[in-house]
Symmetry: C2
Subunit: 644 residues, 2 copies
């Protein structure tokens, strides 16, 4: 646990004098704060009613002072707060004037705290939209904690502009239960578990968990806005998830030291969190879980790995090998499978042959060896297949002459070959592979296995994994949508919305329960008896209907999977039944170009095609309800996996 997770910034509501800006910036630097919120009541020429004329003189020349001292970055260190309370229509002119003045002095980010009711939302949206589109200003919108709907309307009217962010205002202390850090339960622990991608420990109930907090976490947050006064010594439980994610906190300057104290105690109490964590999930690689949660919590879309098309680098192998939960599950599954083989009547007749299909640097070989050793089974021969010739060098060094204590030496040829194209000269008792992508079947595991397994396994051999099923769930993922919009604008490529992405969706807001879509079963060896218009070979179709369990914005769909490795042993990335401590897979994300507003209990229907033909694999999708949309990634034009 390194740096403190609390980033503070000051919000100074007093008018500044000429020297004040310098003092503030000095303070920022000394207290390692991110930025200061400074009042923007503007100079008299634009805001004639101002009674503090002399107090604002600094706007006219202090920028020069600041520039020399802070390397011309003072504008970036300051967010201009529009002071005008928006009570009537005429106040909008003052807002515009303040923003224009802010622009004039080079400060391109404004914070607006309108406390606006429904009546003024339209003209305010128009004005803010103009500021963003015409003047490229960034707008931080302060929303009351419980007025997500207004924020959502504003966001839609502003066309999901990436320049628009939100600062939810923490509810007043009386609105919510305040808890001490040393009683980690109720509203706090669920947030923490969510952050680490873990299920709740047994005996802890999520009742009373702050769902609004989850909703805000999925939004393009710029900061959390603290109410004033902020009662001493009793920090908000609502604040916890934001602290974990290092969302900046805007507090009044008079409260800064108080917050610093709070941050310190939060730091101290963290150990308590991890002791719960350790007790509950002894299998998990704690460091890895913590690192993953810290490094990938922001919903940024990543390009999926394509080990079939490209050779992975050594570092990538290494990173994935560290997932102790995954390989522990594999090891258990292998033990069960080996025991099943041993239980056969004719087991003694032939030697035990195992194939590792796509071995990488060999973690599954190790799993197999350890499983066999533990249950005392002699493995006669392990064929190790890997097409990446650089990885094969490592494999050869490690495994060419293996032994385990009981069984002495094992014959284990390393075959540098695409196992799909290799003609085996024998059949194997067990074939073990790990070809699953974030969506299960999206790295072409079915294409690699369906036709080859019969050749490798004959009629009796076993496959690990036995079976896997992909799942889809509708999600609100505003940050991911924002990232895709920025990506699209930067690359001038609108097709980012036609591609599958891999995203850590832990902060996304699930609008419905995941539903199963495609299942592939390598336990059954017979060919599927029928094919219809949709399903033929590895091509499949499903039309899924979700009933929204939450209100929200449909930005896209989370694709996840569960997998039966063998018997009852399995792994899952499916929301709600995720294997604790598993970190190898984030979710797949199927984006929508145009987000849709969803009410609770609304029907959401999506059609999804998995097309596998002409040496290519791709997915197409469209929405049928609530609004019919065009089919994305039609013909795999924008996104496909080359199977050759």
């Amino acid at each position: 646990m390194q740096t403190p997770p609390l980033t503070l910034c000051t919000h100074d509501s007093e008018p500044y004098r000429r020297c004040r800006l310098c003092t503030t910036l000095q303070a920022l630097s000394e207290k390692s704060m991110d930025f200061a919120v400074v009042p923007l009541d503007a100079a008299p020429d634009v805001y004639p009613g101002c009674r503090n004329y002399s107090d604002f003189a600094y706007f006219d020349d202090s920028p020069c002072v600041a520039r020399s001292q802070y390397e011309s970055s003072w504008e970036k260190l300051c967010v201009g707060r529009v002071q005008t309370p928006i009570q009537g229509p005429s106040d909008l002119k003052a807002v515009e004037a303040a923003a224009m003045y802010s622009l004039h002095i080079g400060m391109r980010t404004i914070l607006i705290d309108p406390g606006v009711g429904h009546r003024l939302l339209k003209p305010l949206a128009r004005l803010l939209n103009e500021l963003m589109n015409r003047h490229k200003m960034s707008v931080w919108y302060v929303s009351p904690w419980d007025q997500w709907k207004s924020w959502n309307q504003l966001r839609f009217m502003c066309g999901h502009n990436p320049l628009l962010g939100v600062c939810p205002r923490l509810p007043l202390m009386s609105d919510t239960t305040s808890v001490g850090l040393n009683s980690m339960h109720g509203k706090t622990l669920p947030s923490i578990c969510r952050y680490f991608g873990l299920p709740l420990p047994k005996g802890i109930s999520a009742a009373g968990h702050d769902k609004l907090g989850d909703l805000w976490l999925s939004e393009p947050l710029r900061a959390v806005y603290a109410q004033q006064p902020f009662a001493k010594g009793h920090p908000h439980s609502a604040l916890f998830p934001f602290l974990l994610r290092k969302v900046p906190l805007i507090v009044h300057k008079t409260c800064i030291d108080e917050f610093r104290g709070f941050a310190k105690s939060f730091e101290l109490e963290k150990e308590e969190i991890f002791s719960i964590f350790r007790k509950t999930y002894p299998d998990a690689n704690e460091d890895l879980v913590v690192t993953t949660a810290r490094e990938y919590h922001d919903g940024t879309p990543l390009a999926p790995l394509r080990p079939l098309q490209e050779n992975l680098e050594n570092g990538v192998y290494e990173a994935f090998e560290r997932d102790s939960v995954k390989y522990s599950a594999y090891q258990k599954a292998i033990a069960v499978a080996l025991q099943e083989i041993r239980a056969r009547k004719d087991f003694q007749k032939s030697g035990l042959n195992v194939a590792i299909l796509g071995a990488g640097r060999g973690p599954l070989v190790t799993c197999m060896m350890e499983a066999a050793y533990k249950i005392g089974i002699k493995v006669d021969c392990v064929h190790i297949f890997e097409k990446n010739k650089w990885a094969c060098r490592t494999l050869e060094k490690r495994f060419h002459h293996m032994s385990n204590e009981d069984c002495s030496r094992i014959h284990s040829p390393v075959i540098q070959h695409d196992f799909r194209k290799w003609k085996p000269d024998r059949t194997f008792d067990l074939a073990i592979s790990e070809l699953l992508g974030s969506f299960g079947c999206n790295e072409a595991s079915p294409e690699c296995l369906v036709d080859t397994l019969p050749e490798y396994l004959g009629k009796r051999g076993l496959s690990i994994p036995q079976r896997y099923t992909s799942y889809l769930a509708p999600v609100q993922a505003a940050k991911t949508h924002e990232s895709l919009l920025q990506m699209s604008a930067k690359s001038k490529d609108p097709s980012v919305f036609e591609r599958l992405h891999v995203v850590n969706l832990r902060d996304a807001h699930f609008l419905g329960k995941p539903v199963a879509c495609f299942e592939f079963d390598h336990g059954k060896r017979q060919v599927e008896p029928h094919s219809d218009m949709h399903n033929e070979g590895c091509s499949k179709f499903c039309s899924l209907t979700f009933i929204a369990t939450e209100e929200g914005v449909l930005h896209g769909f989370a694709g996840q999977f569960d997998c039966t490795l063998f018997g009852t042993e399995g792994i899952s990335t499916v929301e709600g039944s995720r294997t604790a401590g598993l970190v190898s897979w984030f979710s797949t994300y199927l984006p929508l170009r145009n987000p849709m507003r969803i009410g609770k209990d609304d029907r959401v229907t999506v059609n999804l095609w998995r097309i596998s033909k002409e040496g290519k694999l791709w997915y197409e999708w469209n929405i049928e309800e609530p609004h019919l949309t065009g089919i994305s990634n039609s013909g795999g034009v924008h996104d496909f996996l080359d199977l050759s």
Copy 2:
């Protein structure tokens, strides 16, 4: 009346022999047909069940023959008809095979007549979408006349792809009333009036009018598909609107001569139509109405004229001056105004002074002179203002020394000056202007007049026009949407959907009745007493709700206007009360990037801002119902009128 309005093309369902393609192309050329629909049952390698193997041999070599004879354009002259009836899911593979074969021989357009029920629409949509997106093929979809809904679903699933067009199949004769051409009433005359942009003549009822026909007319039509057999001598009334618009007609080759006879009789009967036209609207410039209807019937968006920013060319002035209905209305209004002035007690005391504001080449000057002459009023002085110095040359020649027979010579200085910047040395009794755009206030008539009229008119002077109101109506305009998509793709400029366009929307399908939005009244001289957040000066806001009178697709909004020139004299372009024979203004079109499906009685709410500030005028809009959208043209970034 020049070329025959009927374009025929043959649809040959018999298999071809080697020489057949040549014969067909020969026939196309001799009978001046547009294209031939040829069967695509493809060669045996892709469609093994074909019983006509030898008949299809021509596919393999005749392209060379055709190429030499028809300058390599034979592929463009042929549309491949997918013959496979789509009865079950497995037929889709045959469709794909046929399409791939078509592509192989270079024929990039296929006609598909699926007669598909709801069950197969999804996989068919996916397949067609793949053909268009991946292989850039054009698809002509034959839809049963009464199955617009299925077509609409298909179109949405294909993302409104401009490569997708529709060929509605004419209903069977028994489905609809067949009428002789010599009884122009019922279903036929309403279509014709609509084509010419005219209201129905009195005594003619539109009851029984084929609304489905109107709906199809608003679609991206490629052809009309005739049923077989097509009963002799009794052409469909449903066919009339398509004939007028020269939509190609696909008929079986055995019926071609029959249709030719029909076309001939249609040609002969046209005179009858025009005699009705002439009798009903004696004011209208018949040639102009006919030409306009013919040249601009296709819903193509045009850039609005901007006479305030740019000097119009001589030809443009001339074109607009030919609108006799418009200037006749002006002349009547001027007469009423002059009579009102003459009726004043103090009329004799001062001479009568008239100002023409923005005279162009002077049509309003002529109107004024003729009005004054007819009612016998002496006009003493006409000041003619025009900022375009080239137009002023014409004005000077024509009007510097004017006379009318009664009043002898009139002093009429031509003032080459922007009248907004000129300080008049006197007040005028009457100021006449024609600054209205297609949306009324969109060419900045209010900005030009509101502040200047008091200077020119003092307290008592009159203004023509007195008052104008813009109207908005939700429309289905698929062709216009298609054009905008193409425009956007061609220029790689997505902002075409953020701009106002001018379109002849006569084939658009109005989904609701036009509703008034902005009114400007130059009769009232006092300053508007209040301003609120939305309305200040010439900036205005309105939020309009329509109840859909029809089912359809909301592609955008038609902007129109009506104008009280003076007293009871006025002009209108508003759907349903359009001034007969008026051709100067098409509709304004406010596009939506993403069309929305609308059911009958659905609510459609649109917010529209007219922003006039900082020397610029622009409009912003967004939809609130059925789905909330972002504000278009925010800050006038994509479209504004420079007022300076």
